[in-house]
Structures are given as structure tokens and as C-alpha cells.
């Protein structure tokens, strides 16, 4: 098709997806802020909860906004993102583990 010609729009649902996504991300953020700033629980569990909330927000972004489930053909992009996330967490967490000798890193 000619790259310069106007496209036929699609008939899509309303903005429901986006509004729900926005709402969810505001709620997750608010919970995270409230728990952290209020020192609501002891440090270790609190950090874990904060990370869980962050992970949920990634989900919101990916599924409600970024349309990660769409695309043509097999979902290679999703597989690569997943692998990338595994490597990202590996680099960040394993670096802390490796460098945690002497006075380098405090957990």
C-alpha cells in the first residue's frame, strides 16, 4: 500500500482500557508511596512489597498502554523483552551480590 495515503481508521473500543490502566497505576503508586513514606512495616518486607508493586506497574504499562500482545506473527518481541528483563535483573542483583565484600555494598 502507498505509504503516503491516508489510512482507514478502525472501530475500536473506547478509552476504557487506558482509563483503567491510568487508574491502576495511580493506585499502585499511591500504595507504594503511602507504605514507604509511612514506614508501614519493617524494611525487608517493605522493599519486597515495593518491588511487587513496581512489577505490577510494568504489567499495566505493557498490557494496557503498550499493546504488547498485539503485533503480526509470533510474539518474538515479547520473548526478547522477557529475556531482557531476566538479564537486567540478573545484572543488577548479581552485581550487588558479587560486590558485597569488604565495605563495598550494604544490603
Amino acid at each position: 500500500m502507498n505509504r503516503m495515503s491516508r489510512v482507514e481508521p478502525i472501530h475500536q473500543g473506547g478509552l476504557a482500557k487506558y482509563i483503567i490502566g491510568y487508574g491502576l497505576s495511580l493506585v499502585f503508586t499511591a500504595i507504594a508511596f503511602w507504605l514507604a513514606l509511612g514506614h508501614a512495616m519493617s524494611v525487608r518486607p517493605l522493599i519486597i512489597v515495593l518491588f511487587v508493586l513496581a512489577a505490577l506497574q510494568i504489567g499495566v504499562q505493557l498490557f494496557f498502554f503498550m499493546h504488547v500482545t498485539e503485533g503480526d506473527g509470533p510474539p518474538y518481541h515479547a520473548a526478547l523483552l522477557l529475556l531482557g528483563m531476566i538479564f537486567t535483573f540478573a545484572v543488577a542483583l548479581m552485581s550487588m551480590w558479587i560486590m558485597a565484600f569488604g565495605t563495598n555494598v550494604s544490603y
Binding site: 481508521p9 507504594a32 498502554f65
Partner: protein, 202 residues
């Protein structure tokens, strides 16, 4: 590559040529994720190396980063609306929502700039300690990405205004918004790992 159902697919995917570029951009996002991952790793390792200088609790301004977070989250939402408007084929609406997104992005950057300026004024400079080097580099790299995204969004807006929603401009709107959502994900990690953890671990 046109099929009977191609009119049912969203505009940015209808041309195989454009769909290829979207896939390529997802792969690029995976590399950018690694880039931030390494900056996070550096921050996590150097977090406590304050050299007797300013610490996290001393420089993190809670109202400031709360508002920054709200601005960026909202701009991600309005960017999503712009994508929706693009898929509905509505040129003016797309451009308007992209403009709103940009304005929230500018607000975010202005707030961040004031935060940094204040830090510098109280002696918390990037060269003061390893902690501050890591903090400013991580958050600053995110801010640079946002700045580049604003210019990119502006150029995309111009093209949509000029040519309307074509297969090419549809893809461009979709991709710049993918970038923008990604930056919001990074920010979620920044406020979790840097700001909130900084406050919690004080």
C-alpha cells in the same frame, strides 16, 4: 501482505514494512532496558558511598518526586489517548493529545531541573561522592531520554499535521508512544529503587 482482514488491524501494523519497524523498536527497547539495568546496578552498589557528604534522605524531596511521578504517569496516559486517537484516524485529536503529553513531560523536566539545581546549591554535586555521581547519572540519563523524547514527539506531531494519519505517520505515533511508556516504566523503577528505598532505608 494485504489480507481480507487488514482493515481490522490497527493502522500502524497494516503495512508489513511499517510493522517491521515496530518490531525493531521493541528490540531497541530491550537494549535500552539493559542500559538502565547497568545504571541501576551501579547505583545499587554505590548507594551508600556518600563519603561523609549529602545522603539520600538529605536530598530527596518527597513532594517534589511525588509530583514528578504524577506528571509522568499522567503524560503516559495522555500519550495512550493519542495512540487511540491515531487509530481512530483523527488527525487533530492525535496532535492535541500529543501536545498535552509533551506539556506534562516539560512539567516533569522543569521539576527535575529545579530539584537538581537545589541539590547543587546545597553542595550535593555530581562530583561530590560516588553516591551522588550514580544518582545524578541514573536519574539524569532518564531525564535526557525524556528530553530526546520531547523533541521526537514534536517532530512526529509536525509530520502528522502535515501529512495526516498515513501508514508511516501511524507507525511513528505508535513508536514514539512506546518509547514514552517505556520511560514511564523506568521512572517507576527509579522512584522504587532510588527515592522510596532511599527514604525507607534511612
Amino acid at each position: 501482505m494485504a489480507s481480507v482482514t487488514s482493515h481490522l488491524r490497527t493502522p500502524e501494523y497494516r503495512s508489513a514494512y511499517q510493522a517491521l519497524k515496530i518490531t525493531g523498536f521493541w528490540v531497541f527497547l530491550a537494549t535500552d532496558m539493559l542500559l538502565f539495568g547497568c545504571l541501576f546496578a551501579t547505583y545499587l552498589v554505590l548507594r551508600t558511598h556518600t563519603d561523609g557528604g549529602p545522603t539520600a534522605t538529605q536530598i530527596f524531596d518527597v513532594p517534589g518526586f511525588t509530583l514528578e511521578t504524577f506528571f509522568l504517569l499522567t503524560s503516559s496516559f495522555t500519550g495512550g489517548i493519542a495512540t487511540w486517537a491515531m487509530r481512530s484516524g483523527r488527525t487533530k485529536l492525535t496532535v492535541s493529545w500529543m501536545l498535552v503529553t509533551m506539556l506534562f513531560g516539560v512539567a516533569f523536566l522543569l521539576l527535575e531541573a529545579t530539584e537538581f539545581a537545589h541539590d547543587v546549591m546545597i553542595g550535593a554535586t555530581i562530583g561530590r561522592s560516588a553516591f551522588l555521581s550514580a544518582f545524578f547519572t541514573l536519574v539524569g540519563t532518564h531525564g535526557s531520554h525524556v528530553s530526546i523524547g520531547l523533541v521526537w514527539m514534536f517532530l512526529t506531531m509536525l509530520q502528522v499535521l502535515k501529512r495526516g494519519i498515513t501508514p508511516q505517520t501511524a507507525r511513528k505515533v505508535f513508536v514514539v508512544n512506546l518509547y514514552w511508556h517505556f520511560l514511564d516504566v523506568v521512572w517507576v523503577f527509579i522512584f522504587t529503587v532510588v527515592y522510596l528505598s532511599g527514604v525507607v532505608l534511612s
